[in-house]
């Protein structure tokens, strides 16, 4: 199957040639794709809660002098670990993920973190999920901010015929903070796609125009959305299948990924899934007397088993190229162990990316373990985690770097992480017609009104959203369209300064297209 970068439903739409404006040529193609094109790609985020001990997960084989000295009771014997390169190995429990590495389906990122590490679980989780600075408090999550650019106005009008599936799904009871948008969390929480509860039908009785009405409206919307999304989730789970056998009960992460694979297999177009596993806060008895056993070994073998089964499942169902995964933990642990065969909260740690489209291999240098390392020292950071997130947005969701800088941080530096399948994607041209056609907005530049020639197959709703050069949503609404004609989309609000804006048009049948608007 050829990858397509413009479609999100079976019905795609006619894309007229985008005419660059005089003097804007150089930037225009980049600018018009300010809003990432929709694709059927999926990101699965695996949260390892508690602070994973990176040094006993990804083992620097060239540091055994230091390791045997500093981690004398904790280090893993060289004969037990699974070598992935001459100088790097994975934990003894991670045979399956080592196989994925050799198979070109695993990327190991060394020492990801952020400056001024906060060693509190909750605070550091907030930082990792919001992608804030360590001193900054941000309520939204990084995925949520990305989805805000994709689904302006959400949840108003969702689900719709064109966007019938939840933008994100958090497996479990709690909407993952990563998916927190500016106004609402984008994730539908799903414990079991087959066992959902239908909530009461709201009778649409009038809402009072006060705080009570506003809160009640929120609850009713959540109820309605819950039911609508549950319906499509259940249907997808029923249509989908798992091609491999996952362990029952003994591996909670595998159970969650099994559900994810099944929903993907059933055709759910949700873009982001979050799963989690806790228990990584290994202050005591992290290892047994034989260091390849113990609490940490149990956890990592479950992670390895779950991720490799998930990958095998997708591969067998030929879904591999649509899915990539990413693990993260709120911090790594300290280099020196404590006196309880455990480790305390540290700083940077490794991340794994998995899938057939990741640039497999190792990124970064081995952690250096000095014999005189201080008791409270963690692993120094090599990669800013926000550059990893941002590069995933660039490589995987085709978000332009300008826009990534808005969503993440202005100092964003691209890292090649997941571009393995992109050549194919960029050459894709198979766009079919569903009867829609759009002209260019006019006049352009405009001082006040903005018009657009639209052809629609019968009466339809057309949603438009206007973004400024920083990718912020500044205007959104919808109009009714019947047949072919010129429509005034909006009058320029006086608050909007002169400049170039991206106009995103979304049809009821699910097509989207981006146009450029210049205010003079």
């Amino acid at each position: 199957m050829k990858r397509r970068n413009f479609i999100q439903t079976a019905a795609a739409l006619t894309i007229p040639t985008i005419l660059p404006l005089p003097g804007m040529k150089a930037n225009s193609s980049r600018f018009t794709s300010l809003i990432a094109p929709d694709s059927d790609r999926i990101l699965v985020i695996v949260h390892l809660f508690g602070g994973n001990d990176g040094l006993n997960t990804v083992i620097p084989l060239d540091q055994y002098d230091g390791l045997t000295e500093v981690r004398s009771q904790l280090y893993l014997k060289e004969r037990d670990v699974h070598k992935v390169t001459d100088t790097l190995a994975l934990h003894p429990g991670m045979q399956s993920m080592a196989n994925m590495f050799h198979d070109g389906r695993l990327k190991i990122i060394q020492s990801a973190g952020y400056p001024n590490q906060n060693r509190s679980h909750f605070r550091s989780t907030d930082i990792w999920t919001s992608a804030s600075e360590s001193e900054e408090f941000v309520n939204s999550g990084w995925v949520g901010r990305y989805l805000d650019t994709q689904h302006p106005g959400y949840p108003v009008g969702y689900p719709s015929e064109g966007q019938p599936h939840p933008p994100a799904i958090s497996i479990g009871n709690v909407a993952h903070p990563t998916c927190e948008g500016e106004s609402i969390n984008f994730s539908q929480t799903v414990e079991d796609p087959f066992n959902t509860t239908t909530l009461a039908n709201t009778d649409g009785s009038l809402l009072s125009n006060d705080r009570y009405g506003s809160e009640l409206d929120f609850i009713r919307t959540t109820m309605q959305q819950t039911n609508d999304y549950n319906t499509v989730i259940k249907a997808a789970a029923a249509r989908g299948k798992n091609a491999v056998k996952y362990p029952r009960n003994s591996n909670p992460l595998a159970t969650q990924l099994e559900k994810v694979a099944r929903m993907i297999s059933g055709g759910l177009k949700t873009k982001v899934y979050t799963v989690y596993m806790s228990g990584f806060d290994t202050h005591a008895r992290q290892v047994d007397a034989n260091t390849s056993g113990g609490a940490h070994a149990v956890l990592l073998s479950k992670v390895s088993e779950a991720i490799s089964l998930f990958q095998a499942d997708l591969k067998a169902q030929k879904l591999e190229e649509r899915v990539m995964g990413m693990t993260f933990s709120e911090f790594g642990r300290r280099i020196r162990p404590n006196a309880s065969f455990g480790t305390d909260h540290g700083t940077a740690g490794p991340m794994f990316l998995f899938g057939s489209c990741v640039n497999a291999g190792v990124m970064g240098d081995n952690v250096e373990v000095h014999k005189n390392v201080g008791q409270s020292e963690g692993v120094p950071m090599q990669f800013d985690f926000r550059d990893i997130y941002g590069s995933i947005l660039v490589d995987w969701f085709k978000v332009p770097t300008n826009s990534v800088k808005n969503v993440l941080h202005s100092g964003f530096k691209y890292l090649p992480l997941a571009g393995n399948c992109n050549e194919l994607l960029d050459n894709a041209t198979d766009i079919s017609k569903d009867g829609w056609a759009f002209g260019e907005p006019f006049p352009n530049p405009s001082t006040r009104e903005v018009y657009l020639n639209v052809s629609s197959p019968g009466y339809n709703r057309l949603r438009y959203s206007l973004f400024d050069a920083r990718g912020r949503l500044v205007l959104a609404n919808e109009i009714g369209v019947d047949g072919t004609g010129d429509h005034m989309l909006f009058k320029r609000p006086s608050r909007l300064p002169s400049g170039t804006y991206a106009l995103r048009l979304a049809t009821e049948t699910g097509g989207t297209i981006t146009r450029k608007v210049v205010f003079d």
Partner: protein, 542 residues
């Protein structure tokens, strides 16, 4: 567009002017829903009869604290008898049931209809959220100890509770006070004391300057608070209660220079009393009173504190607090008797937290008071423990606030109370309310049924189906519902039958409550009715 919590409505015009409107049952029920847990019709009627002032006397009276939790099942605690309390006994590390005992005890107190109509339990949770002590399942004796502080100080004195909590054994562990030593000061508690418990963090005015205090003050306070340790923590072979003590040899006796934000005061060595000196300095600041009153406001009224609320409600409340030597009762009284509290547009706008949700289901029925099986101490505790599990499912784990800032519903803008609601959490809410009501509820295989006889008996006119439903919505919902909704609810009972059928069947049941032929049809219909009522969006509000 109504999805922004920050949506502003017309500025609040009411203020702390005492309420002078008509005191009806709706208003009485509103007051009780916000101060008791799940008020019953007899409580609502009494409040209506008594009037606002007498009702407030009752609600705000200093209530006796419940008797302590006990050993309720055989376990590795052979030196304790069943029914004997463990809170002041030795702790040898093998007493797993104690954590469950504490949970069961707490939730049984919360739902018990035998306790007075009083604000104590609600304030207890207010404090739990305010100080947000969380540090894993450590010595349950200390967890009990600080719950006791919250019960005793429910409507006590801010100074007094700050003193108790500053040296509370569990707080000393939670925010590292016990590790705060002369040689190696730990700033954790000093920082949160100012940021969360007293002054509140103001806008950043310069490097390390948070307007209300500075980094210099954090360092100075940390030094002033050195020397507090725990005794017998997590383990004691003898019946010695766990407690904190002051170790003068580990106390920093040097001068502590505070910043200009705190008047450039130099704190001299005062040994074991130095923390009181510190607290006095913090209490003198108006910021402390304002910060505290905002917390109260978010808990009792609404999350949105706009400039008008700040000026007309928060500031005067803070003055009441300071003028009354930090006594809390006059402040809450002022708030609950104000015009503002009864303002129509604010009524019913709080999304219930999991406690509110559970209690608003079981308390109006007097929970399972009819079930003699619950005289079995083990079943009683295990039922309370089951409630605790429900709370965890709904996002509120017992004594485990997510962070030291408390639950997000009370501070995280713009979502606030909406944090309690998500698709999964809403589904879970409906599963739980349905499980409790639909006749299959049990504890350890012992079925527990709602007893509709005393409930119906307590209503003004149970035999009139329409009046019955109206009164039930008064008890359970924050505002009257539409006639369409009322009709749909009525349909679950009547299924198309004429009203007199209810009058007859209910009358037969009330005259022959033990006759199954009369009882069963009423119970099953009331069950369906309540399953639907509790699934309404409106039921999530109070």
């Amino acid at each position: 567009m109504s999805y922004q919590s920050s949506k502003r409505f017309a500025p609040v015009v009411s203020s702390l002017t005492p309420f002078s409107g008509t005191w009806d049952r709706q208003k009485a029920a509103h007051l009780l829903r916000r101060t008791l847990y799940g008020p019953r019709i007899d409580e609502i009627n009494k409040a209506h009869r008594d009037g606002l002032d007498r009702t407030l006397d009752l609600i705000l009276a200093t209530a006796p604290v419940p008797s302590p939790p006990v050993k309720y099942r055989e376990d590795d605690d052979e030196y304790l008898q069943l029914g004997e309390t463990w809170v002041d006994k030795s702790c040898r590390g093998k007493n797993q049931y104690r954590n469950r005992s504490l949970r069961g005890w707490y939730y049984n107190n919360m739902v018990s209809s035998k306790r007075p109509s009083n604000i104590q339990e609600r304030m207890c949770f207010f404090w739990l959220n305010y100080f947000s002590i969380s540090s894993g399942n450590i010595d349950p004796r200390t967890m009990y100890k600080h719950l006791l502080v919250y019960q005793e100080e429910a409507v006590g004195n801010l100074r007094s509770i700050l003193r108790k909590i500053s040296t509370d054994p569990r707080m000393l562990v939670c925010l590292d006070g016990a590790l705060n030593s002369k040689k190696n000061p730990n700033e954790n508690f000093a920082r949160e004391l100012m940021e969360l418990f007293t002054l509140g963090k103001g806008p950043l005015a310069g490097p390390g300057d948070y307007t209300t205090y500075t980094e210099k003050d954090v360092a100075a306070l940390a030094r002033a608070l050195t020397g507090w340790k725990n005794r017998e923590f997590n383990f004691s072979a003898e019946n010695i209660p766990v407690e904190s003590y002051f170790d003068s040899s580990d106390h920093d006796t040097g001068d502590k220079q505070l910043s200009h934000r705190l008047g450039n005061v130099v704190v001299k060595n005062s040994g074991a009393n130095e923390y009181k000196v510190i607290l006095e300095i913090l209490l003198e600041q108006e910021a402390t009173a304002l910060n505290f009153c905002r917390e109260l406001y978010r808990y009792f009224i609404y999350h949105d504190i706009n400039p008008s609320v700040e000026d007309r409600v928060i500031a005067p409340l803070a003055k009441v607090l300071m003028d009354n030597n930090y006594e809390i009762k006059p402040v809450i009284r002022e708030l609950l008797k104000s015009e503002h509290f009864y303002e129509e547009s604010l009524r019913g706008a709080i999304i219930k937290n999991p406690h509110d949700f559970l209690c608003s289901i079981v308390c109006p029925f007097k929970e399972f008071e009819n079930e003699s099986v619950l005289k079995d101490i083990r079943l009683r505790y295990e039922l309370g423990d089951k409630y605790a599990d429900y709370m965890t499912d709904l996002g509120m784990e017992f004594l485990q606030p997510p962070t030291i800032s408390g639950w997000k519903a009370y501070y995280d803008s713009p979502q606030f109370y909406r944090h309690w609601i998500s698709p999964a959490l809403l589904q879970r809410r409906v599963q739980i309310s349905t499980a409790i009501i639909d006749g299959d509820f049990h504890i350890n295989g012992v079925p527990l049924d709602i007893d509709y006889y005393p409930f119906l008996k307590s209503l003004t006119n149970p035999l009139d189906i329409n009046k019955m439903i109206d009164e039930v919505t008064l008890i359970f919902l924050p505002r009257p519902i539409s006639s369409i909704q009322t009709a749909a609810l009525k349909e679950t009972i009547m299924g198309g039958l004429e009203d007199p059928e209810w009058t007859m069947s209910c009358g037969d049941f009330l005259s022959n409550p033990t006759n199954l032929n009369y009882m069963k049809p009423i119970a099953s219909r009331m069950g369906r009715f309540f399953v639907d009522l509790f699934a309404l969006g409106e039921f999530q509000l109070q």
